[in-house]
C-alpha cells in the first residue's frame, strides 16, 4: 500500500453534468455535447479564446482540468517540471479522426487534422497551465485503476514529479466520461490516500 501520495481533488464529467469532489457544480441536459462543453466554459468564466479552436476531446479534458484545479491547486508550490499529466481513454482521437475523414473528399481541414492524436489534449492542457513534467496518454478498453496507480506512483517514486493529474477522458460522438484526480504528496482536508481502491471508488461512485 502506498500512502505517500494523496488524491487531493477529483473532477467527473458525464451525462452533461460536472462534479467537483463528488458535488455537482454544473449541468446542462438535453443539448448536443458541443453545446454542453461551450456552456460549461462560459459557466466557469474561463478566459481562454483558444478553447473554441479545440476538438471536443480536448475541450472535455481542458474543462476537467480547469474544474479540478479551481480553488484547490497552488501552482506556486510547484515548478513547471514537477507537474505531470497521465491520461487514458478507450477511443483515442476517433471522434475527431472521423470528422477529419469526412473532410478529405473536399478540402481536408488543417484545424481538424492537428487533433487527430489524443495526446494533443495533453499538449493543450500543458500550454494552458505551463506544465512541463512527465506526461503520457494510454488507450485501454476501460479505466484501469491498478495500472494508473502503479504508473503514477512510479513517477513519484523516481522523484520525477511532485504533483500529477491523472485519469480517464473518453469521448466518442455524444458519449463522454471524464474522471480526473489531482495527486499530491501533501495531505489536505478531505484528501484520501492514492490507492487503487480509492481511484476505483471515485471513478465509479464519485467518492472514495
Amino acid at each position: 500500500m502506498n500512502t505517500q501520495e494523496y488524491i487531493t481533488a477529483s473532477c467527473s464529467i458525464s451525462n452533461h453534468i460536472v462534479y467537483k469532489n463528488g458535488i455537482q457544480v454544473f449541468e446542462k441536459k438535453f443539448t448536443a455535447l458541443s453545446e454542453f462543453l461551450d456552456a460549461a466554459y462560459l459557466h466557469f468564466d474561463i478566459q481562454y479564446p483558444r478553447f473554441y479552436k479545440m476538438d471536443n476531446l480536448s475541450k472535455l479534458g481542458f474543462l476537467g482540468v480547469e474544474v479540478l484545479l479551481k480553488d484547490d491547486f497552488r501552482p506556486a508550490g510547484y515548478e513547471a517540471e514537477e507537474t505531470g499529466l497521465v491520461l487514458a481513454n478507450a477511443s483515442a482521437s476517433l471522434d475527431t479522426d472521423l470528422k477529419y475523414y469526412g473532410t478529405v473528399y473536399s478540402i481536408p481541414s488543417p484545424a481538424l487534422f492537428v487533433y487527430t492524436l489524443p495526446n494533443i489534449m495533453i499538449g493543450e492542457i500543458c500550454i494552458r497551465h505551463n506544465f512541463k513534467g512527465e506526461n503520457a496518454f494510454f488507450v485501454f478498453k476501460q479505466f484501469d485503476a491498478t495500472f494508473m496507480e502503479q504508473y503514477v506512483s512510479n513517477l513519484f517514486g523516481n522523484q520525477l514529479l511532485k504533483t500529477c493529474i491523472c485519469g480517464w477522458v473518453e469521448l466518442l460522438e455524444e458519449g463522454h466520461k471524464l474522471v480526473l484526480f489531482l495527486i499530491e504528496k501533501e495531505k489536505r482536508a478531505q484528501s484520501v490516500p492514492f490507492m487503487v481502491e480509492n481511484l476505483r471508488n471515485i471513478f465509479l461512485n464519485g467518492a472514495a
Binding site: 479564446p49 473554441y52 479552436k53 478540402i107 481541414s109 488543417p110 484545424a111 492537428v114
Partner: protein, 87 residues
C-alpha cells in the same frame, strides 16, 4: 473593396472559430498574425482553405503567404487581383 473586406472578416471569424471576436474588432490593416489578431500556423493553413473554398483561389506559391495574409486588406487585394486575371 469595402464589401469584400467586410465579408472576409466574417469568414475569418467563422473559419478560425474566433468566437470572442466581432468583425468590427478587426481593422482593415491590422496584422493577422502574432501581435495583431494572434493567429498561428494552423490558422494560416485554414486561411489558405478559406481562399480555396470561398474564392476558388489556390495559393500557388507558399512564399507569398506572409504577404497575402498580412492583413484583411492584403487578402482582399490578392483576391481582387486574381478575380481580375480570370476575367
Amino acid at each position: 473593396m469595402d464589401k469584400l473586406m467586410s465579408d472576409l472578416k466574417k469568414q475569418i471569424i467563422v473559419q478560425l472559430n474566433l468566437r470572442d471576436v466581432k468583425p468590427e474588432d478587426i481593422s482593415d490593416d491590422q496584422p493577422l498574425f502574432v501581435e495583431g489578431l494572434g493567429l498561428d500556423s494552423i490558422d494560416a493553413l485554414e486561411l489558405i482553405v478559406l481562399l480555396q473554398q470561398e474564392y476558388k483561389i489556390k495559393l500557388s506559391n507558399a512564399e507569398d503567404g506572409p504577404k497575402v495574409f498580412q492583413s484583411v486588406r492584403t487578402m482582399a487585394d490578392y483576391i481582387t487581383a486574381h478575380q481580375a486575371q480570370k476575367v
